[in-house]
């Protein structure tokens, strides 16, 4: 399933593809918390037109967790008291690497 709708990336959704070929369809706005993906979706990039981002360094398991975070982040974007998301201990280090790669660090004021 692909999230493109033929008229140049105007879809509300984009597709993220992991290293091992798993595809995740995510709300476009929810991915904006990643600097890396936001950069990919900026005006003239291929990804912005096709709505399909291939992340060659992240495998499916990790990307699934990242996608879960995207939605968690989107749901709570303007809330004051936010419950913490569960992070599986066994994938913690890989997730740190992915978060670093995708630019998902807290921004200083």
């Amino acid at each position: 399933m692909d999230a493109t709708n033929g008229n140049g990336g105007a879809s509300k959704y984009i597709t993220l593809v992991s290293k091992d070929g798993f595809e995740f369809v995510v709300l476009r706005e929810a991915t904006l918390c990643s600097d890396y993906i936001r950069g990919m979706l900026r005006n003239n990039m291929t990804e912005a037109r096709t709505g399909r981002c291939e992340l060659q360094d992240i495998n499916g398991v990790i990307l699934e967790k990242v996608v879960e975070y995207f939605h968690y982040w989107y749901k709570y974007r303007d809330r004051e008291d936010v419950p913490d998301m569960e992070i599986p201990v066994e994938n913690c280090l890989e997730l740190v690497v992915a978060a670093d790669y995708l630019g998902m660090d807290s921004k200083p004021h």
């Binding site: 201990v89 280090l93 998902m104």
Partner: protein
């Protein structure tokens, strides 16, 4: 209680009504109804069990004495069950009726009516203290508040109730409430605001991962090939939880690294510090807080190695003798660019400062905080550190202003940071020296002076050939006289003219301003600096601290929000005239003197 008594007092006993009947009536029990019920039961029993067996009669004899009728218990049970069934039938019939369905549809309610119907038609269970027949074994027993319900209705006697408890699976204990309930969470938010780490929305994925990692750090064997900023974050988080110990220290010692930051080294021994230099031979920057055991033998080892430190930051290392400091500076000072020494009370003194010009020619940053040994004599030697750009001094000995004037006249032109904390006798000559010599200053801190005058500050900031300051901290530069707290005839401290001159000079670029406790800045000066029409704009100002500036009002705070579009945090502790300000979205106002304590964007101040 009193009402009940009144009622009873008002109830007269007349004619054939007995005292018992009256008492029952006062509790809403009709004696007549009881008699009618008993009659009905008796009749029903006679009909159904026309010739009741002798065994049943026997049971009656064994049964409770309270029952005046001759009805057998088994009969009662059957009649009750049948009545219950009948009731259920009636309920079902009503529920199925067309009018009921229609009404229900119109009302749009789902269960409320059903519940009402159920409660109205259900046979009322006996109250505690009354007698009832057990729904299981049929025995008569006294109903208590602890009597269990039978699944098909009715109550159980205590032995049957216990039996049922045994059969039923043990109830799950209610889940433990998390430590951060609604109150805890609110408190945590407020605490984060005060820490300056508050942000709307979820924590970043990185933060979540690092928190999880810190919680399970004992499972980690190796942090792998993480980038330095991430490792630094993990180190901070671990130290915050006081988890940095000899085992976890190993995670941060990568042989290829050039930087090691230990934010809480209290649990490390001298051997652990030596291990740092053994495993990380190319170390360039070392930061160690609470490094109590960074002592002579560690210095000996460091001096004996090839490691060439560029940046040394030691906090609380009181076990290094003065000779070791001198030896270190002499042998390893060549490469040293930054030396920061915090809370070393007695051993880092004048002789170490005297050694700096000859042994550390390339020193750029020097910081000595909470030091009890350095005196004016040592400070004088700093005048020869010609590469110095950042100077921060926080001493316990008083140093005369002349010493600072001497230092400033020599190295002033290069200085970017000049920070003197808690030097109460610092006077206008220092301000004039800054005005005359400093040309590249960005950060200026002079605190607690009660000698400097408004005139001096005004002279400093008027026609100063220095570019805009980015960071200004002039807290508690004010007149202190407990006998006459309001009068300030000599204009001591930062007052109107100095404040206006400061903002006129640096307003364009200033990011951080602290005038905490400068009590004599008038409301007029604030209104002039932050006009209510927002005509003056301070685009870079992010943090403003005006606590204990008594004249600040709601109006001034509102104007400040207008004039500082990028303001992040405004502190107004002790500004008693600030009462209820509307805070724009994205800004934080801390210290409003009401129960709220601090106010954050969007939250209506009116709701208290």
């Amino acid at each position: 209680m009193s009402r009940q008594q009144n009622n009873r007092a008002g109830r007269q006993i007349r004619g054939p009504q007995s005292a018992l009947t009256d008492f029952l009536a006062s509790h809403n029990i009709s004696a007549n109804q009881i008699r009618l019920d008993a009659d009905a039961r008796r009749r029903a029993a006679e009909q159904e069990n026309g010739a009741s067996s002798s065994s049943n009669q026997q049971q009656v004899a064994e049964d409770e004495v309270g029952e005046s009728s001759t009805v057998t218990t088994s009969v009662t049970v059957t009649t009750r069950t049948s009545r219950r069934k009948k009731d259920q039938k009636v309920i079902d019939k009503i529920k199925a009726s067309k009018t009921y369905q229609k009404r229900k549809r119109n009302a749009g309610e789902d269960d409320a009516d059903d519940d009402l119907l159920d409660t109205l038609l259900r046979e009322r269970a006996p109250l505690p203290g009354q007698m009832d027949n057990c729904a299981n074994c049929g025995k008569r027993f006294t109903v208590t508040a602890y009597s269990r319900n039978h699944p098909d209705g009715g109550l159980l006697c205590s032995p049957c109730g216990k039996e049922m408890d045994k059969d039923a699976p043990p109830k799950k204990k209610p889940a433990k409430r998390a430590a951060t309930g609604p109150v805890g969470r609110r408190r945590q938010i407020q605490s984060k605001i005060l820490d300056g780490t508050f942000q709307l929305g979820a924590k970043s994925l990185m933060t979540l991962c690092i928190e999880t990692l810190a919680k399970n750090i004992d499972l980690a064997e190796d942090l792998g090939d993480l980038p330095q900023p991430v490792i630094d974050k993990i180190a901070r988080k671990l130290s915050k939880h006081r988890l940095l110990n000899p085992t976890t220290l190993s995670l941060f010692l990568q042989p290829t690294a050039d930087e090691v930051c230990i934010y809480d080294g209290a649990k490390l021994s001298a051997d652990d510090y030596i291990r740092i230099f053994q495993t990380v031979p190319g170390l360039k920057r070392l930061k160690a807080r609470n490094a109590i055991h960074f002592k002579d033998e560690v210095m000996d080892f460091l001096v004996s190695r090839k490691t060439e430190l560029e940046d040394l930051y030691l906090h609380g290392s009181n076990l290094i003798a003065e000779e070791k400091w001198l030896e270190f500076l002499e042998k390893k000072g060549k490469s040293l660019q930054s030396l920061r020494v915090y809370w070393t009370d007695k051993h880092f003194g004048d002789s170490a400062l005297a050694a700096l010009p000859s042994s550390c020619p390339s020193l750029v940053r020097l910081k000595a905080c909470h030091n009890q040994k350095i005196t004016g004599e040592g400070i004088n030697h700093l005048a020869q550190l010609h590469h110095l750009k950042h100077l921060s001094i926080d001493l316990r000995n008083h140093v005369h202003s002349d010493v600072y004037v001497n230092v400033l006249s020599s190295i002033g032109p290069n200085l970017e940071t000049f920070s003197i904390t808690r030097e109460i006798e610092l006077d206008n000559t220092v301000l004039d020296a800054i005005h005359n010599h400093c040309r590249s200053l960005q950060k200026l801190r002079i605190t607690d002076s009660d000698v400097m005058t408004d005139e001096g500050f005004a002279r400093l900031f008027t026609n100063w050939e220095n570019k805009c300051l980015l960071f200004v901290d002039l807290q508690k530069c004010r007149q202190v006289d407990s006998a006459n707290p309001r009068q300030n005839p000599d204009n001591i401290g930062l007052c109107d003219r100095g404040f206006k001159a400061l903002m006129a000079h640096s307003g364009r670029k200033i990011q951080h301003l602290n005038v905490h406790g400068c009590r004599h800045i008038s409301a007029k000066a604030f209104e002039e600096v932050f006009p209510s029409d927002g005509k003056k704009v301070y685009p870079e100002l992010k943090n403003l601290e005006i606590s204990f500036c008594e004249e600040v009002t709601d109006f001034i705070v509102g104007s400040i929000f207008k004039c500082c579009p990028n303001l992040h945090e405004l502190n107004v502790f002790g500004c008693m005239k600030v009462k209820s300000v509307r805070v724009p979205k994205g800004k934080i106002l801390v210290g409003v003197p009401n129960a709220l304590g601090m106010v954050i964007e969007g939250v209506d101040d009116d709701e208290e």
